[in-house]
């Protein structure tokens, strides 16, 4: 009975007892969720356009952050460094398209997946070779990102502390999703992207250049990675440990569906909030640290009931 009580009742009692703490946990989860969603967004962009599951998105986040910080350390002004980093991500996109995607066109999924894992190794080695393996401080204030925090009083004496950088991250993520939505639905290139996602051959036959589209999509994913790198780097450090965190984008994608941008956002928030609440309220029962696998378990259970994700297209199989 005690066990049942501590699993089923006690966490909720705690939530009601300390509502300000609960809200704080919710907010932390929300912010983490936004960042997961940003990483997942990069995955979705590339998966939609080329059917490639880009494992390297996580390391691209690290790489973009490191390039930005590294350039600034060399004495380049912050905004110029930002522009240069965008340029570097563009070059990376071109190189990936030319040397990885183009020769591997029409290969089975698993080969493409492996090639992006190979790309991950390459970028890890390359990044460490150039910038060294130590964590670096993100140049948040130089880029004009807000610092400090605001405290709200809740109820009788409760405090909810919101870091400004977190608010900024949420706002920037929203703007980015808005821009991507407009880009996909209203522009010429966006329509071409969707055409490619629908059917490669049909897109080719109406004169859309696959190579060009892939370079664009990898560049867009690079920009998303840079934004994620700045935001995440400002919350902690820019380090290669981020790469493991980026794997959390996988359960996010499972929840949201591999092809849906709103799905990535909603999935990110569910995972972010779910794992924070699980860790704080249920984690102590089993010794803590469950954050490392809870997201995957949520995804696993979810998959058993809805294999195509929340917003994914229905999977139809034919023999």
């Amino acid at each position: 009975m005690d066990i049942l009580y501590s699993i089923l009742v006690d966490p909720f009692v705690q939530m009601v007892d300390l509502p300000d703490f609960f809200l704080q946990v919710l907010w932390e989860g929300f912010v983490a969720g936004v960042l997961y969603a940003l990483i997942a967004l990069g995955f979705v962009l590339i998966f939609k356009a080329s059917g490639v599951f880009n494992f390297a998105q996580g390391i691209m986040v690290v790489f973009a952050g490191l390039t930005l910080v590294g350039l600034h350390e060399k004495g380049v002004p912050a905004y110029l460094a930002l522009i240069l980093t965008i340029g570097v991500m563009g070059l990376l996109a071109l190189a990936v398209e030319r040397f990885v995607m183009r020769p591997l066109v029409n290969q089975p999924d698993i080969i493409l997946l492996m090639s992006t894992i190979g790309l991950t190794y390459f970028l890890i080695g390359f990044g460490e070779f150039i910038f060294g393996g130590e964590p670096k401080q993100m140049i948040a204030s130089e880029l004009g990102l807000p610092t400090g925090s605001t405290a709200f009083e809740i109820g009788d004496g409760g405090l909810l502390i919101l870091q400004h950088i977190d608010i900024a991250a949420a706002v920037i993520a929203l703007i980015m999703v808005g821009c991507l939505a407009v880009f996909f639905n209203k522009t010429r290139i966006g329509r071409a992207l969707r055409a490619v996602a629908d059917d490669h051959q049909a897109a080719l036959s109406v004169g859309i250049s696959l190579n060009q589209i892939w370079a664009i999509v990898w560049f867009a994913a690079g920009i998303v990675a840079l934004t994620t790198g700045i935001m995440w780097g400002a919350r902690s450090d820019v380090s290669f440990a981020l790469e493991i965190i980026a794997l959390k984008a996988l359960p996010v994608l499972i929840l949201g569906g591999f092809t849906s941008i709103p799905g990535a956002i909603v999935g990110g928030l569910i995972i972010g909030i779910g794992e924070k609440i699980g860790e704080i309220y249920w984690g102590p029962l089993v010794g803590g640290g469950i954050e490392s696998w809870l997201a995957y378990m949520i995804a696993l259970i979810f998959l058993l009931f809805r294999p195509q994700g929340l917003f994914g297209e229905r999977i139809i199989e034919r023999v």
Binding site: I117, F122, F126, L247, Y296, L300
Partner: protein, 359 residues
């Protein structure tokens, strides 16, 4: 001229079903066997300890993953954790039964790994492809967490790591622990790996192996033809996890000697996945090639780069090795997506018609 099967007639069912039907293959295998036995007598302890033993162990793990991914078509990213299950259960077994021969315990510990593998294989009945990869990631992170958070697994050590105790067998030979000789460990590992590989070879060319391949090629069609997806998929998970578990137990007991939970992290899973893909999906000999390549390449690079007169720190060499491995993986996927095993069979085809361009 040298390598062709013409004139070699099969006159009995036994010769028809032999694993190496061509005489030249049998001679080749014998030469490899002699070399494998001769290596310890000519090579240094370092070569045995740091290269040959881990290579054999990782080749076994790669065969394990190849069963699941190459033969049954189920993508798994949790190999490292399944190896960990084998290592920790072997550690517990030898703690509880210190007098039983360690080799028997190593082979038994694979059973625990197989059980865990079947549990995490259950979702494969409903989901496949990349989605399944995520559920195996759940296994990876959950099991890794268990290795850290359940102190019973590492006998409540203050360090949280497992240290291999000294175990003797076959009279009074020291098999494990710091005092064990490199040659003894090499021969134990070689024996286990060879026996298990032969067993696996017979499984994959028999009824069960054919069922796995049917499931891989088209699961719905296989189901219509009477293959039970439940038994086929779960048996693939069981056999695969068993092999990985045995490999993991050997990895600790005959190679590392002590291990922290991080030894079985996702990095190891990826490494073994690379071995399988580069070696060739659905090929046992490919698993050996892949293991040799992935394990040997960084060692070779670390030896070669300073020797070429490039004077750089050890850390930089390590970074460059990572980079080169990544680039080579992409390169190999581009030039030969079917892996080194395919190059091997192409080479044999060429040899068959040599010295003529066409047979």
């Amino acid at each position: 001229m040298l390598y062709r099967e013409s004139g070699q007639y099969k006159t009995s069912y036994i010769s028809d079903q032999s694993i190496f039907p061509i005489r030249e293959d049998r001679i080749g295998m014998m030469i490899i066997g002699v070399i494998a036995i001769a290596i310890p007598f000519v090579a240094s302890d370092f070569f045995l300890n740091a290269i040959m033993t881990p290579f054999l162990i990782l080749a076994l793990a790669a065969i394990g993953l190849n069963i699941l991914t190459g033969y049954a078509g189920q993508l798994s990213l949790g190999t490292g954790a399944f190896m960990g299950v084998g290592a920790y259960s072997c550690y517990k077994l030898t703690t509880i039964f210190p007098d039983v021969n360690i080799i028997i315990l190593v082979l038994l510990s694979g059973l625990f790994s197989a059980g865990i593998g079947v549990i995490f294989g259950l979702p494969s009945l409903r989901i496949k492809g990349l989605y399944l990869a995520v559920t195996t990631l759940a296994a990876q992170f959950f099991l890794e967490w268990c290795f850290i958070r359940i102190p019973w697994l590492y006998n409540y050590n203050a360090s949280g790591a497992i240290e291999v105790p000294e175990r003797r067998g076959f009279g009074d030979i020291i098999l494990t622990g710091p005092a064990a000789g490199a040659m003894t460990q090499y021969f134990v590992v070689l024996g286990i790996v060879v026996v298990v590989t032969l067993a696996v070879k017979n499984i994959v060319r028999g009824r069960i192996g054919r069922q796995w391949m049917m499931i891989r090629d088209m699961d719905i069609a296989a189901e219509l033809m009477g293959v039970r997806p439940l038994t086929a998929k779960l048996s693939a998970f069981a056999v695969s996890s068993y092999l990985c578990g045995v490999a993991g137990a050997m990895f600790i007991f005959f190679y590392l000697g002590a291990a922290e939970p991080s030894a079985f992290s996702i990095t190891l899973s990826f490494q073994i996945l690379f071995m399988v893909i580069l070696g060739g999906l659905g090929s046992l000999v490919g698993s050996y090639f892949g293991a040799a390549f992935i394990w040997g390449l960084p060692i070779v690079l670390r030896a070669v780069l300073p020797a070429m007169g490039i004077d750089i720190g050890a850390e930089t060499v390590f970074h460059i090795a990572t980079m080169v491995v990544g680039a080579l993986i992409i390169f190999f996927l581009i030039v030969e997506p079917h892996g080194l095993a395919r190059l091997w069979s192409l080479g044999k085809e060429k040899l068959r018609v040599w010295p003529f361009p066409y047979g």
